[in-house]
Symmetry: C2
Subunit: 280 residues, 2 copies
Amino acid sequence: VIGEHSRVAAELLRRLHRGPRPLLLVNVWDVASALVIERADFPAIATSSSAIATSLGYPDGEVISATEMLDVVGRIASRLQVPLTADMEAGYGGSAEAVSQLASRLIEVGAVGLNLEDGTDPDGRLVDPEAAVANIEAVREAGASLGVPLVINARTDAFLVLTDDPREALSEALSRLARYRDAGADCLFPIGARDAATIKVLVAELGFPINILAGPGAPTIGELEDLGVARVSLGGGPHRAALATLERIAEELRYAGAYDSLVGALTHADLDELVSRSWR
Amino acid sequence: VIGEHSRVAAELLRRLHRGPRPLLLVNVWDVASALVIERADFPAIATSSSAIATSLGYPDGEVISATEMLDVVGRIASRLQVPLTADMEAGYGGSAEAVSQLASRLIEVGAVGLNLEDGTDPDGRLVDPEAAVANIEAVREAGASLGVPLVINARTDAFLVLTDDPREALSEALSRLARYRDAGADCLFPIGARDAATIKVLVAELGFPINILAGPGAPTIGELEDLGVARVSLGGGPHRAALATLERIAEELRYAGAYDSLVGALTHADLDELVSRSWR
């Protein structure tokens, strides 16, 4: 029954990448943040791996273990009515076999989609795209064997690594993302690509759903929609904005002895009701 | 050696209740939030039990287990240089023996102070103050036997429960807090007392450090200092303000297609550096 519920949720999440409007994702890091976004009527929820890692005290970049990451993802998934897609970095372990196991565990904890990045080696160089292709195929197969067709958002770090030569970065991203698309990804994520001209080429050349990481300085949602972008996410930005609010509260308390930065906070009763409602 | 470190930290936290200025506490809920407050140069850190519980998906009020609460407290304590005091609600278990064990576990995970409330029974009535006295004595003895003199912030819920009759609430709070003081508490916490006249009576009658839960509408820090308040905390307010920021980000994204609410967020590099620095 859980398998059937997840299968339906995965198909719903997949369809949201093919709708008339871009799928908007406000990335969360714990149950409370996920419930706030669900209540704001978003049709799906995404985690941010950097937000989850740092909230638990780990630097970004697979310092956290897969088990701890899955614990948080599962805790969130168990409380949501809408589909959850989890940022699983580069798969926590390298081999396609490890990634296959990760995909099975992800399904077990109730997520129905994931981000999977090609990423970099210890020297900061992009890893062989063949490894990323094998990982995508491993997820696809694990999902098929468990009857939950996980929605794969395949990310390339080309724009993060090849910063000296935007033309080379675009070329590398196009080459990699085409392979990830052909390996069975559902959406392609060129993290670091933000200008309209680059996005336009990516959409046109790949002819496939594209995820753009947005934030201050990025094209508006209307502009991204006009460019044909299928999915927009905010990464760790919301978590870091929430922490900036905390910092402002602390500074105001310390230097002005006042509490204006706390005005507009959720009330205790409101948050408690939000959490209690989803408590089983 | 850990015992000696904690003993010194407990004494430091205790002294901060007897300084010329009130001890200001911005309550946190995870490692990232704690590191943000520590970096803002606060001399001690406090947790909020409601913030920790709701971030993990539990309603407030001891629905979370002591073990899960201690896991979060320990995770935070392991990363801080400054003393950590943890909100332990009514002690998660009722008996003084259970509270004694809780105090020992709290010391083991690295906290050096705690909030302990008298609280209410399932019918919403204040519990017998004798039980709260026994709990305070149990914490005092556990701390002494382990060589870590835990700083006890003894809270009464009188003002939360006796809302119909402010005069009765004040009388009940004074009676209870005097007993908690005499049982070995280090600071007295009349949660719900916020007006200057009431605070003035509490400080004068008890002649002992008082903790005020502040926020919008409360006297300023300068006013609380003039009233003789020793300690000011913000409870779950900062966490709920951070969630309100998340809600604003989501609403702006959805209805305006824009990202202005993300302006001023901590940068990825800044947060990663903050976490990495404390990573051992």
